[in-house]
């Protein structure tokens, strides 16, 4: 394993130190391990808190700021945060109007946020949880942990964050977050695995000519291993999976998201293929985002997310956002 780190055990703490130094507009609590924007809490405003394992940067810490999250709780790498962090962050940003927890649907994340929400309730803080489960590579079923939360997390955080910024109440902010999730579907491919500092070797091995179709952002195996094919064919299959899983009746926002080690030039090439297929299928792209947003350390791979949007969601998407990882109109 070759990484720009010191002791593998200190990676998250030291990266937070760097984040704090790099972003004076954020407050990083290095002891309790959470990130808030300067000026928190905002009295009378609903606050958005998210979090999850580290290694997916800029998610979530890079999305803290006006128009998006109030706080983020980074866990160890690929490990959900603990309830202590989440409750501390929730307390720090609660402005009296309640707090929305945006939680990716992984057993660990769900349980830790649930324990924190119970603690918050004990303290009289109203918490609504928005569960993100957009990854259609996993067949949804009552017999499993359900679909994983991946790329749609960015859209939920952006759009719910904009709704909170304009003063909506707790129920309304949570509702739009849930609506965005319900309107989203994602599918990912890995060409090679990422390496966690603690493990010191890639999370999985793939032969030189094989890829993992439907991979998860922690390197969870996907639907199947298959031979590498041209980008055009892969995009076709991913969009088939996405369009089979959900209706996209009207306009969509498209996210072509790099998982870490995939050059931007490939992401743009893939976006070109996505745009061509969607034009064929009569799906109108209202907005799009191409880049590294919900990553998986140094995994070579990408995910495609489609979110069906109405005028209201589009308006909220276009609203100003000013965070390290996403910024416009501000």
């Amino acid at each position: 394993m070759k990484k720009f780190i010191n002791d593998p055990a200190d990676v998250v703490a030291e990266a937070l130190t760097g984040l704090a130094a790099a972003h004076p507009e954020l407050r990083v609590d290095l002891t309790e391990r959470f990130i808030t924007r300067a000026g928190a809490p905002r009295a009378g405003r609903v606050a958005l808190v998210s979090g999850g394992g580290s290694g997916h940067e800029p998610l979530h810490g890079g999305f803290v700021g006006p128009g998006m999250l109030d706080a983020a709780c980074p866990g160890e790498i690929f490990t959900s945060p603990v309830p202590d962090q989440i409750i501390a962050a929730t307390r720090a940003v609660d402005g009296g109007a309640g707090v929305v927890h945006v939680v990716k649907n992984y057993t660990g994340d769900v349980m830790n946020f649930q324990l924190a929400a119970e603690l918050a309730a004990d303290e009289g803080i109203a918490v609504e949880t928005v569960l993100v489960d957009d990854d259609v590579a996993v067949r949804d079923s009552t017999w499993t942990a359900g679909r994983r939360g991946t790329g749609a997390t960015l859209l939920v955080e952006k759009i719910a964050g904009a709704r909170a910024a304009e003063g909506a109440d707790l129920a309304a902010v949570a509702a739009v977050g849930r609506a965005v999730n319900a309107a989203s579907a994602s599918f990912a491919y890995a060409l090679s695995a990422g390496t966690t500092p603690a493990a010191g070797r890639p999370g999985f091995d793939l032969p030189d000519d094989e890829i993992e179709a439907g991979v998860g952002i922690h390197g969870e195996p996907g639907r199947r291993r298959e031979k590498l094919r041209p980008a055009r064919a892969l995009v076709h299959d991913a969009l088939d999976a996405i369009l089979d899983a959900k209706e996209f009746p009207d306009r969509v926002i498209v996210l072509v998201n790099g998982l870490g080690a995939t050059p931007l030039i490939e992401l743009y090439l893939v976006y070109g293929e996505v745009a061509a297929v969607l034009a064929d299928r009569g799906v109108t792209i209202a907005r799009r985002l191409v880049g590294n947003y919900v990553t998986s350390l140094d995994m070579a791979g990408l995910s495609i997310t489609l979110t069906a949007v109405d005028d209201e969601m589009l308006r909220l998407w276009d609203a100003p956002v000013n965070t390290p990882g996403l910024r416009w109109g501000a």
Binding site: F78, T79, S80, T107, A137, A145
Partner: protein, 208 residues
């Protein structure tokens, strides 16, 4: 079981998960995300460093504190599950410096209930439950037959190990491995494996 034995159990568990961290992580990498060994090593290290000050006065307190520490330090699925289990176990015990095998049985019952309440897993879902439930059954049978702690925990450890081995054939229906569906078959569950380590650690210290 007295306070010293409870502490010894936690220390032995810390030693076992640290020694086996690589195997646990490897099992987790195959059907999950490859952090189970690191998670438990970090968690039990915090548990035993919590014992280093003045140790709690009762067995119940030792275990509740250990559970709280796991919840605070581990994260992931295993942190809340093992943490809640130890907290529930401790809370179900009478306050006192020693605990009978019957009382421990009640506590272990409460621990399993906590895991099932939080995680919603049933036997056969390829989780911690698949080692914990048979261990509990074996422990109960041994206690009912009048065995002492050493014998009962040895029976529990054997049953947990068999239960963990049996997960290899199962299709995961909870946790990260459930994403794999049929592809999870053929791999032993890391959580069930660590549960077996925990029961084996208990048997080890109970034996003397």
């Amino acid at each position: 079981m007295d306070v010293a034995l409870a502490c010894a159990w936690l220390r032995a568990t810390a030693g076992a998960v640290t020694a086996e961290a690589d195997r646990l992580t490897r099992l987790d990498a195959a059907i999950g995300d490859g952090d189970h060994g690191v998670n438990l090593t970090r968690g039990f290290a915090a548990v035993i460093s919590g014992l280093d000050g003045t140790p709690p006065a009762t067995v119940a307190e030792v275990l509740v504190k250990a559970g709280s520490t796991l919840i605070s330090k581990v994260g992931g699925a295993s942190g809340p599950l093992y943490g809640s289990a130890l907290r529930a176990l401790g809370k179900a015990l009478p306050s006192g410096t020693t605990v009978t095998p019957e009382e421990l049985l009640t506590g272990l019952h409460a621990g399993l209930d906590a895991v099932r309440a939080l995680g919603g897993a049933a036997p056969g879902d390829k989780t911690i439950v698949d080692a914990y439930a048979p261990a509990l059954e074996a422990f109960a049978a041994a206690v009912a037959a009048g065995s002492g702690l050493a014998q009962a925990t040895a029976a529990a450890a054997r049953a947990a190990e068999e239960g963990a081995a049996a997960t290899t054939a199962m299709t995961a229906r909870k946790g990260r491995a459930s994403y794999l569906g049929e592809r999870s078959v053929g791999h032993q569950d890391p959580g069930a494996t660590s549960t077996a380590l925990i029961f084996r650690a208990l048997a080890g210290v109970a034996e003397g």
